[in-house]
C-alpha cells in the first residue's frame, strides 16, 4: 500500500472503538473515512458499560476517564456541566451507565459534526471476518454484505464466551429468578464478584454468597492520594521477576517509612508499566502471569471506597464468605453440591448452593475465542496468539502478527486484545493513549 490509509474500518464499537474513532476524526483530512461496526444495539458500551445498575460504578475516578488523551478533564467537565456531579465530590466514581451515556453522546456529536463530510459511518451488525485484499481489507458482515477499506482495526475487546460447565454468567439468559434465601457460589473474588454481589443485593437476594478463588483475596479500595514521582532511570528493567519484585517491595517499604501510602507507590509506577512489561524476558512475563498477577491485580485494580465499604461489611457480617481454594467437584442434585479444597489446609469443604456464577475473569486462549472475527484470523494464520496466550500477538505499533511472523500493514488491534504486548491496556486511561498514538501513526 502506498500513500496514506484514508479509509479505516474499526471492528467493535465498545469503548475502545469509540475512543479510537474520536481520535481519528480529529484529523482534518477531508478524505478520511471511518466505519465503526458494532453488533450490540448501542455503541460505546461493551460488557463494561452496558450495566444499568446504579451501584455498578466505575473503578477509576471521573478525573481519569476522559475519552481524549490530550484532554484528561473531558469526562469530569461533562459530568459537572450536566449537574451529575459537583467539584466537591472528587474523587467521584460515576455509575458505569453514565459513562455509557458519555460515550454515546460523544459519538452522537461526532456523527452530527461529520454528517456533511460523510467521514463517519456506523454499522450495527456483527462482523464475521477480515480478509486482506490487493488494495486493502474486506470485512464480511453477518447480513451477507461486506465493507472494504484500506485497513481494519480490531477493537473487539473481551471475549464474551458463555460460561463453561455448571457455572453461568450473571445477566445471561440462564440467570433466572432465584429464591431470595438461596445460597449461591461465585467463582472469583475480584471486581466481577463485587459486581455480582451488588446485582444480587439490588434484586433483593439475602442468601449466603460463597466466593471462591485461588487466593480468596478481595481487591483494595481507592484512597485519595498523590502518586509518587518516578523516572525510568530509577526502575530496574529487563531483570528476572524476583529481582524486580524485591526492588518494588523495598520501594514500598521505604516510602511507607516516610508516611506514604502503598497506593501512591503502585500508582507512581503506572506510567512505566508498559515499558517494564516490554523489557521483561519471556520467563519473567510467564512467571508474573502465573504467580504475581493475582497479587498485583488486587493492589492495582481497586474499587470505589463506598463499594469497598459495602463489600467488607458483607464479609464481616458473614453474608459473603471468601474462600481461598480450588473447586474439585460439582455434583448436580437439583441444587449443586460443590467441593472446594482449601489452599491453606488442603481439606475439602462441601457447599450446597442453588446457583454458581462464573466471575473468574480468566483470560481464555485466544485461539479458541468465541469471537468469529478473531477466530477466523487465527484459523487462517493471519493472526496468532501472543506467547502467553492472553491476547493477540501484535507489534509495538499495534499491527497484528501472522502465524508465520509476518507483521500486517493492514490489520491492527487496540484495547485488551493487545495485552500480550502492552500488558497495562485494559482501562480507559491507557486505551485512550494507545488510540491517540495509533491515530497519529495512521494519519500523521
Amino acid at each position: 500500500m502506498t500513500g496514506r490509509a484514508n479509509s479505516i474500518i474499526i471492528v467493535g464499537g465498545g469503548a475502545s472503538g469509540v475512543v479510537l474513532a474520536a481520535h481519528l476524526l480529529k484529523s482534518p483530512n477531508p478524505d478520511l473515512r471511518v466505519t465503526l461496526i458494532e453488533r450490540r444495539p448501542h455503541f460505546g458500551q461493551g460488557i463494561a458499560y452496558s450495566t444499568l445498575l446504579s451501584a455498578h460504578v466505575l473503578n477509576v475516578s471521573a478525573a481519569g476517564m476522559s475519552a481524549y488523551a490530550d484532554d484528561p478533564g473531558n469526562f469530569w467537565r461533562w459530568l459537572q456541566e450536566r449537574g451529575l456531579a459537583t467539584a466537591e465530590q472528587a474523587p467521584f466514581y460515576a455509575p458505569r451507565s453514565i459513562y455509557a451515556r458519555y460515550l454515546g453522546e460523544l459519538l452522537d456529536e461526532l456523527q452530527a459534526r461529520e454528517k456533511q463530510s460523510g467521514r463517519l459511518r456506523l454499522i450495527r451488525e456483527e462482523s464475521l471476518s477480515i480478509t486482506p485484499t490487493a488494495s486493502g481489507v474486506e470485512v464480511a458482515l453477518a447480513n451477507g454484505t461486506s465493507v472494504v477499506a484500506h485497513l481494519a482495526v480490531l477493537a473487539t475487546g473481551h471475549d464474551e464466551e458463555p460460561a463453561q460447565g455448571h457455572a453461568i454468567r450473571m445477566g445471561s439468559e440462564a440467570d433466572t429468578a432465584l429464591p431470595p434465601d438461596a445460597g449461591v457460589m461465585v467463582l472469583g473474588t475480584g471486581l466481577s464478584m463485587v459486581d455480582a454481589f451488588l446485582a444480587l443485593e439490588q434484586r433483593g437476594h439475602r442468601g449466603d454468597i460463597i466466593a471462591v478463588s485461588r487466593r480468596g483475596l478481595l481487591p483494595s479500595p481507592h484512597r485519595k492520594g498523590n502518586p509518587i514521582k518516578l523516572d525510568v532511570a530509577d526502575i530496574p528493567l529487563g531483570t528476572q521477576l524476583s529481582y524486580f519484585v524485591g526492588w518494588f517491595r523495598d520501594l514500598i517499604k521505604e516510602n511507607q517509612k516516610a508516611g506514604i501510602d502503598w497506593r501512591d507507590v503502585v500508582d507512581g509506577l503506572r506510567p512505566f508499566n508498559q515499558k517494564i512489561w516490554q523489557n521483561w524476558p519471556a520467563s519473567a512475563k510467564r512467571r508474573f502471569v502465573e504467580h504475581t498477577k493475582a497479587w498485583w491485580d488486587i493492589h492495582r485494580h481497586r474499587m470505589a471506597p463506598e463499594v469497598y465499604a459495602r463489600v467488607t461489611e458483607a464479609v464481616r457480617s458473614g453474608r459473603i464468605r471468601l474462600v481461598a481454594g480450588r473447586v474439585v467437584d460439582i455434583a448436580r442434585n437439583g441444587e449443586f453440591t460443590v467441593q472446594v479444597q482449601s489452599r491453606h489446609t488442603q481439606r475439602l469443604e462441601t457447599f450446597e448452593v442453588a446457583r454458581i456464577y462464573d466471575c473468574s475473569g480468566i483470560v481464555r486462549d485466544i485461539s479458541t475465542s468465541s469471537n468469529s472475527v478473531v477466530r477466523s484470523l487465527v484459523d487462517r494464520g493471519l493472526a496468532r496468539p501472543d506467547p502467553l496466550r492472553i491476547g493477540l500477538d501484535v507489534s509495538a505499533k499495534c499491527e497484528i502478527i501472522a502465524g508465520d511472523g509476518t507483521v500486517s500493514a493492514k490489520i491492527l488491534a487496540v484495547g485488551p486484545l493487545t495485552r500480550g504486548t502492552f500488558f497495562e491496556i485494559d482501562a480507559i486511561p491507557d486505551i485512550r493513549v494507545q488510540c491517540a498514538r495509533l491515530s497519529k501513526q495512521l494519519l500523521g
Partner: protein, 167 residues
C-alpha cells in the same frame, strides 16, 4: 555515573556474549582477559545472576554464561542493576536522591541540566543491546581513539580524516 563495577560488569558480559550460545566461561578467563580483579568479578557476576542476566554452573567444568540472547539484554538493564538508578550526579535521581551539601536544589542550574542528561543516558543505554555493544567494530573503536587523541583546543582544520568521514 558509570562506576568501575558497572564497567567491569559490562566487559564481563561482552566476554560472555562472544562465546558460542550455551558455552560456559571460567571466571578466571573472564578476569584475566579483561583485567578485572577476580574477587570483584565474583561479586559482580553474583549480582548479575540474581538479576537474571547470567547463569552459573558449579564444579570443575563450572562457569558462567548469558541467561538469554545478547540482543535481548540492554546495556541500561545491566547498569541499573550494578550501579543503581541512572544518574549523572547523585542529586539528579528520584529514588537515590542525595542532596548536595553545598547548593540549593531549587535554584541549581547544574542539577536542572543534569536531569536532561539523565534522560539522554537512559535513552542511549536502553536502546543498545549487549549484542550491539559486542559488535562495535574495531573501525569504530579506532575512530573513538582518534577523537580521544584530538589535540586540546586544536584548529578545526587539524581534525583527523577518520572523524570527518564518520560524521
Amino acid at each position: 555515573m558509570l562506576t568501575k563495577k558497572g564497567k567491569y560488569g559490562l566487559k564481563a558480559l561482552v566476554h560472555l556474549a562472544r562465546l558460542p550460545v550455551g558455552q560456559l566461561a571460567f571466571v578466571n578467563d573472564v578476569a584475566t582477559g579483561n583485567n578485572i580483579p577476580k574477587k570483584f568479578l565474583d561479586a559482580i557476576l553474583g549480582e548479575l545472576r540474581n538479576a537474571g542476566f547470567v547463569q552459573s554452573r558449579k564444579g570443575k567444568d563450572g562457569g558462567y554464561r548469558l541467561a538469554r540472547p545478547a540482543d535481548e539484554i540492554k546495556v541500561g538493564h545491566v547498569v541499573r542493576v550494578l550501579d543503581g538508578p541512572l544518574a549523572p550526579i547523585p542529586c539528579a535521581s528520584r529514588t537515590q536522591y542525595q542532596r548536595c551539601e553545598d547548593c540549593n536544589e531549587a535554584t541549581c542550574q547544574v542539577r536542572h541540566l543534569m536531569l536532561e542528561v539523565r534522560q539522554a543516558i537512559a535513552e542511549v543505554l536502553d536502546q543498545r543491546s549487549l549484542a550491539e555493544m559486542r559488535d562495535i567494530s574495531l573501525d569504530d573503536l579506532s575512530v573513538a581513539r582518534a577523537i580521544d587523541d584530538l589535540p586540546v583546543a586544536g584548529d578545526i582544520g587539524d581534525l583527523p580524516v577518520a572523524v570527518k568521514v564518520q560524521a
